[in-house]
């Protein structure tokens, strides 16, 4: 597959790993946050942590838009789905997120009409095909996905589709990053910047991180070599005492973002004064809602949404995992009461969630590092140099 396979070459990975290791100062520990859930997924799926020296820790951030939805909003969505003649449409990622009374998946089993879609445009199709039903699209995602929802709203308006609406849960990444930076719990050395969010917002919004907080940022692609190269670029900045925003994913991310996309968002949506994020609490101007002009397509205005705030279960430590304070296995219920099959929190349910990624893919990785270390300690084979094989 073009533009994919070339960035999955193992030999080059070893080369990058060696360069990264060479840049790590002896005695210093590094904590790098990868904000984006897609990066978390790739890191675990390809076992990338095996390539890093033990002194570099990758910390998972809140860039998983499913993970940050508070339980109360899930309950609101379930309430919408349960309305008479509503067809709820949702991305696959949302289907298993637990609310107070189960997930979309459970509701489907009880007979609620909930359908999985791949694109918001599929939801429009369903609305056109079912004029006597009211179709609601559960919109989630960061700025990567908001433009698609925006375009769909514009199209619905152009067609005068009277039975289609959007339950808008889009969130924005910058306030979340700022909340992390301002959090006293965490001392980070740098950021692997979100890849696809940046195709929309560009790289400039991250400049405040380098300028005001002195932390380097490298916007990274999603293939294993992209991530390794980005870590290399971060380590280089740290070694050279720089803090800048760099774009490793230049083949896809334009420095100034996608103006058409930003215009579409601006036309159809506006920032909410505040929005609750699971684990991070209320953050101002961090989420989008539909503008008055498109109120006819706003599920929150067409339907009475309960809007009850539900506290995270006491046992759930998703918040700390989302902030990078805890590693998944440090959560008290990880793997026992909370598993991918029986998730308590969103970090376990979403395939991008740190907990799901670690449980599904990474559970053994430390062992492998241990095996590699043991192999390296043994008399080295000629030419191998004790590097991971």
């Amino acid at each position: 597959m073009r533009f994919v396979d070339e960035f999955r070459d193992a030999e080059k990975a070893h080369a990058l790993a060696a360069k990264i290791a060479a840049l790590a100062e002896p005695g210093r520990r590094y904590k790098i946050m990868e904000v984006c859930g897609g990066h978390t997924h790739t890191i675990y799926k390809h076992g990338l942590e095996d390539y890093l020296p033990e002194t570099i820790t990758l910390v998972h951030g809140p860039g998983c838009p499913v993970c940050v939805i508070p339980m109360g909003r899930v309950d609101d969505a379930m309430h919408l789905a349960a309305q008479p003649d509503v067809i709820m449409t949702s991305f696959g990622d949302m289907m298993r997120v637990p609310g107070s009374n189960g997930s979309f998946f459970d509701a489907k089993a009880r007979g609620t009409d909930i359908r999985m879609v791949y694109s918001p445009l599929d939801s429009l199709k369903i609305a056109r095909a079912n004029p006597d039903r009211r179709v609601v699209f559960m919109a989630i995602g960061f700025e990567t996905t908001a433009p698609s929802t925006a375009m769909t709203l514009l199209r619905a308006a152009a067609e005068g589709l009277g039975n289609f609406s959007v339950f808008c849960n889009h969130v924005t990444i910058i306030p979340a990053i700022k909340a992390i930076l301002d959090s006293p719990d965490l001392r980070l050395d740098g950021f692997i910047g979100p890849g696809h969010v940046s195709t929309v917002i560009g790289c400039r919004p991250y400049e405040f991180i380098a300028r005001d907080y002195g932390k380097p940022v490298v916007v990274a692609g999603f293939e294993p070599l992209d991530i390794l190269q980005s870590i290399y670029m971060l380590m280089l900045q740290l070694a050279e005492g720089r803090s800048e925003v760099e774009n490793q994913y230049a083949r896809v991310v334009p420095w100034h973002g996608n103006l058409v996309a930003l215009r579409a968002i601006g036309q159809t949506m506006e920032l909410r004064p505040y929005f609750e994020w699971r684990g991070l609490g209320f953050i101002s101007h961090s989420a989008l809602r539909i503008r008055d002009r498109y109120a006819a397509f706003d599920a929150e205005r067409l339907f009475e949404v309960p809007g009850v705030r539900v506290a995270d279960p006491k046992a759930c430590q998703c918040g700390e995992v989302l902030k990078g304070v805890l590693k998944p296995w440090e959560c008290k219920v990880f793997g026992t009461a909370c598993t991918p099959e029986t998730p308590i929190g969103t970090c376990m349910v979403s395939p991008e969630g740190a907990c799901a990624a670690y449980y599904n893919y990474g559970r053994m990785h430390r062992q492998r590092v241990a095996e590699a270390a043991a192999a390296a300690a043994a008399p080295p084979a000629a030419g191998n140099g004790g590097l991971p094989s």
Binding site: E11, K12, A15, C64, F91, T145, P147, V252, A382, G383
Partner: protein, 90 residues
């Protein structure tokens, strides 16, 4: 929220200027290219696809540059390994 896949634009749908057919490894899908309205892709261009929309055009020049950097690193590394191997022959 980040699953973006590169695909090659194969053709435009004549009745619908916003829609184009893309090819991903032999699999074809119709996607909306409205977000690239300022600089519409042409057949043969590669785009990043996300939830049925093209988010960005893939810059082949940048991709080549990225690969060149990786090749360079790979070669330097291979050279180093070779040097290391040679130096062990005492």
């Amino acid at each position: 929220m980040c699953l973006g896949i590169p695909g090659e634009v194969v053709e435009f749908l004549p009745e619908q200027p916003d829609l184009a057919k893309v090819d991903v490894s032999g699999v074809r899908r119709v996607i909306n290219v409205g977000l690239l309205a300022d600089a519409p892709p042409q057949p043969g261009d590669w785009v990043l696809i996300h939830v049925g929309f093209a988010l960005s055009k893939i810059d082949e020049g940048e991709a080549a540059a990225a690969l060149q950097f990786l090749e360079g690193i790979g070669q330097a590394y291979a050279d180093e390994l070779a040097a290391l191997a040679e130096s062990q022959i005492e």
